[in-house]
Symmetry: D2
Amino acid sequence: MPDKPVLKIGLIGSGFMGKTHAFGFASAPRVFDLPYEIELHTLADRSDAVAAEAARAFGFARSTGDWRAMVADPEIDLVDITAPNALHKEMALAAIAAGKHVYCEKPLAPLAGDAREMADAAEAAGVKTQVGFNYLCNPMLAQAREMIRSGALGEIRSYRGVHAEDYMADASAPFTFRNDPVGGGALADIGSHALATAEYLLGPITKVLGDCATVITSRPDGAGGTKTVETDDVGRAFLRFENGAAGTIEANWIAMGRKMQHDFEIYGSKGALLFSQERFNELHFYSAADPAGQRGFRRIEAGPDHAPYGLFCVAPGHQLGFNDLKAIEIARYLDAIAGRAPEPFGFRAGERIQTLIETIQRSSRETAWLETA
Amino acid sequence: MPDKPVLKIGLIGSGFMGKTHAFGFASAPRVFDLPYEIELHTLADRSDAVAAEAARAFGFARSTGDWRAMVADPEIDLVDITAPNALHKEMALAAIAAGKHVYCEKPLAPLAGDAREMADAAEAAGVKTQVGFNYLCNPMLAQAREMIRSGALGEIRSYRGVHAEDYMADASAPFTFRNDPVGGGALADIGSHALATAEYLLGPITKVLGDCATVITSRPDGAGGTKTVETDDVGRAFLRFENGAAGTIEANWIAMGRKMQHDFEIYGSKGALLFSQERFNELHFYSAADPAGQRGFRRIEAGPDHAPYGLFCVAPGHQLGFNDLKAIEIARYLDAIAGRAPEPFGFRAGERIQTLIETIQRSSRETAWLETA
Amino acid sequence: MPDKPVLKIGLIGSGFMGKTHAFGFASAPRVFDLPYEIELHTLADRSDAVAAEAARAFGFARSTGDWRAMVADPEIDLVDITAPNALHKEMALAAIAAGKHVYCEKPLAPLAGDAREMADAAEAAGVKTQVGFNYLCNPMLAQAREMIRSGALGEIRSYRGVHAEDYMADASAPFTFRNDPVGGGALADIGSHALATAEYLLGPITKVLGDCATVITSRPDGAGGTKTVETDDVGRAFLRFENGAAGTIEANWIAMGRKMQHDFEIYGSKGALLFSQERFNELHFYSAADPAGQRGFRRIEAGPDHAPYGLFCVAPGHQLGFNDLKAIEIARYLDAIAGRAPEPFGFRAGERIQTLIETIQRSSRETAWLETA
Amino acid sequence: MPDKPVLKIGLIGSGFMGKTHAFGFASAPRVFDLPYEIELHTLADRSDAVAAEAARAFGFARSTGDWRAMVADPEIDLVDITAPNALHKEMALAAIAAGKHVYCEKPLAPLAGDAREMADAAEAAGVKTQVGFNYLCNPMLAQAREMIRSGALGEIRSYRGVHAEDYMADASAPFTFRNDPVGGGALADIGSHALATAEYLLGPITKVLGDCATVITSRPDGAGGTKTVETDDVGRAFLRFENGAAGTIEANWIAMGRKMQHDFEIYGSKGALLFSQERFNELHFYSAADPAGQRGFRRIEAGPDHAPYGLFCVAPGHQLGFNDLKAIEIARYLDAIAGRAPEPFGFRAGERIQTLIETIQRSSRETAWLETA
């Protein structure tokens, strides 16, 4: 592709998310007419050996055990961070200082203050950033937002959001970084998705009243003893939105049997929408304008009417997968880098999510409605 | 049935619920081996004419426009109240004073204090009482409770309950008794069902934090003007249960498109249960003990394994209807009157529901966790 | 109800269906404004003792072990036959000869020729008859038929019907009357429902090509030996309809896990309908006229818009049960007896079903498309 | 990847399937540890210009408007054919003659005899072949097959398969190659999928009785006139399997509202499986061995227990998409080329499908049960 500029990627990390990103960089150019040719330049990981092996597997040309060296490499255009959460800030600030665009997995940082610092730095440096909220890239969510904005639901009155899984349901599983009082807990880990979806669809949340509950109060410490858990297993909040709607979200990582219940229900004066990530190629729409006796929730299946589905497959009903959402995320970010579109979910948006989380946590401790602005 | 004592029924009211009760009295003896022969003795309504016509339609032998006369009739054994909520207390106390058993539609009374007075009077008089929480009579709820008690779900950790309909979603519908600040609102009207189901399944709620929101803030007053609405359209609460579980309920009568979303999700350490009243002949059960690769929510269909389904139909999958639940409710109440079983949901239980409602309402006003005992 | 004529019922049989009919006679007058007052006059069964006990349980005033005596009783207006299939013809002809209206459970008779004789006799005698195809009484089926007739689906092109259960799936269950080569088999037992629904919705079937398969080829004979089974466990047919549509039905009584899969899928040039008896208070409708991007199958929930649902319950989503369908069936039959409406499913219709069954069976033996007129 | 041999791909065609294949070649190496490094060597299409543009978009290094030149190129190891069906045979035979491995989209050829010739040639030449039946690559189908083989369903008794879409439902859409009497029709186009799935799961079909129906009997010819359609819009067949089961398949391309109803229901003596491609990350399993009162169809969600899902995503419930199935298909084919595994679906398997299709078509014309061996 000689007529396209080359964008050289430096990836930090090769775990679940590192692999998902590599997958996205490989598939995005097959699907989208990207503004750049992507070059998988260097993969950095915690050791030269680990990095070398991952680079081979993921198709990166070079590898290093020293992420700082990679960030300093003038050839690299974009630093992609999928390292542990605690390192995000240091890595991102270094990359920004080096003038790189920065793509960072969620959460942007364990604390909102850190996230703000990162967002400020990026804006000052004029680089483009992105946080990996890939569920927002689902064409059916875009369809939902469009229907809300167009008035198909009328005035929005009520919202119910949930993100429930069961990956922490086993009480004998050891204490991990997820249980760290700084940045840990179900609300921060997956409630962040529920909050991002809620604001994506309905606009700003203005007030929250939280209820963060620890259910499994101690876990094995990995050294034969136990360790007290202070982070929430279930984080709930009552919400008020700027548009006048009221609602709730629940984040729950001990919901036995649930693998991906990232769901919402939206009720308006003229209609309603239901969605479940368990069947994320579907959106259910109720219109009060349908004829009497024939009203009901319509199961809309994803298809070429729901861009950019048609770029993946010309026929409806074939379904996108989780990794496809990542390709969409990357394509949109590259559009932002090229100046074709605003940042879809930049560091400022990541900071917003952390602010919401901390406000809900504080609200829970204080049993008080708190403003989120 | 010469070998069975006769139980003479006096019914007050002939609206939606009056008809449902009459239906239940007619069908219960066909289904159950009741301890009594039921005699539909007298129907009372707001006028002689209305009462006479309803008596003919429902199969009552006598009728009257004066409910006091009926309550005083020494022939009557059981007074069944389906009159407007505001009259429940006066009618019930009169019937109790006359030594009648009293069956009263929900809500028992608009205020918990009134409900307590009624329960006290009934206990003092030694009569048997019942409040009409018919959803609790679903065999699938009994199945759910039995599974919880038997430990099939392990330790119960998390509960999500909802009762959502859309019968008040139309903002142009006039102000009614449902909007009366005393006893009105979605939480009182249908949240009562959600609370009854929650305690039926998991046992006592110990603490609540409420969020009662008015969405449609004024309604036509029926006289060309508008009237301010102060009651909640959506009532939500965070819950703590005595068994250690935490959860939520939501009552919502403006949930456009929802006709009967009386649903719950229960997550335990070993399994989970999902239920929706929209398909109330089904219960969904997840067992973590199922083999790897073959786990999933099982859709259990109601059948003769779920008593008393088998008395209605010997074959599974044929399904009970709403009115069948009322027949079960009546059969259980008659068993209690005959001393065969404890009261399934007596006035004391009705008082409990009103107490929960008022505590949630107060909690919402005060933004404070309140104890419910 | 002094202003209504009395209709005196004589019921033969008190098993599953006898009980269901008694239930229907008790509930129909509570729901419908019937043209008659129903009097449960006499219950006949195979012995005086059995009949006496059933009469008590079901609310009949008299009982007898001699059905002939009951049929001869000049007081009886309507003879209701729920006795074993092999006796239907003799009983019905006797009742017709005595000038009674006759209500007979399905199948009307094991052989189409017998059914024809019965229908001829009834028409000659001028009495009103009914065969108990209660699934046709579901308001959602009426809704489906109305939508088809109104053109909402356009030209009907394709039909898929199935009736599958698993009550014969256990190979160790003994040989019964259901396996009798005369009148037995899955096609006759439950395929009859699938055929009745198909013609109810789409009109006459004109040609069939059958495939009747015996899967469990021998069963215990109850005397320590085994008996060869010749009747079908699964009966399938390709269909052609007079309206031009082509389709299939399947009757299957060894469909492990299925309790009531009486389902259909109808595809037209403008829309489609899906239905499952497993959730028989729902109908799913696809309209090609919905806007692009918002098309999908609508889950229509039963409610007062779907008469006569509203007579059972004034609110949508509360759901009818199996026994309610029987009450509707009885109400419609009484309307026919009173001359208010044509017979909803008389003996001629019952004969038609037997003719379809026999034609499919013969088609299967001959591997030939056969006309069904 | 210096330690892996390079496999050089020549792709013919760049339409829907060409793009899907290119996507698969790009993503397979990110997911799987393939035995080869894939080199996208040359893309051939109907003109130099079309080929050049597609090569750029799909990442091929060279392009040509002359597929014969590409097939003759000694550098190419594998020829991948996504050209129109009518050209498959000529292209494949040329590639085989040149000693290439050949990957061909379905249908392998319009006529079984041609498919046989192609399979014979490939076997004689010792090259490895593959036909693109990608639905078979779904991990949930492997799970289903494993459960069948392990006896979890007991003896298999009954099968219902369907593949229904609506892409030909519009009667005003013009006559195309799909309507060509040679190789056209719904049975050939999508019934092939239903047949492949049926034999994948249950083993060989031994006998068929077909019913191929033309519903839209003429279509615009694109020149202002109309053209008579002789191919089937709906192809149905009764089936007998070598394992003793009986069943049906239906292929329907005018099923308004259906986008991807590639479904099956399998009933055995101990359990059952239900599947719908509309939700292809789920499999529903009923076990008669579950405790009474707790039996039901379990909704199993795809996860790492279902290989190779875990290579795409380490967490369950995230879901694979249509394009992921293609990556699996390619990985399996490369394993076969490397001698690690047998051909998953070679030309001989493709011939088998064509034989089944033609046998059903002939059976329909002759109204006769025909053997398929």
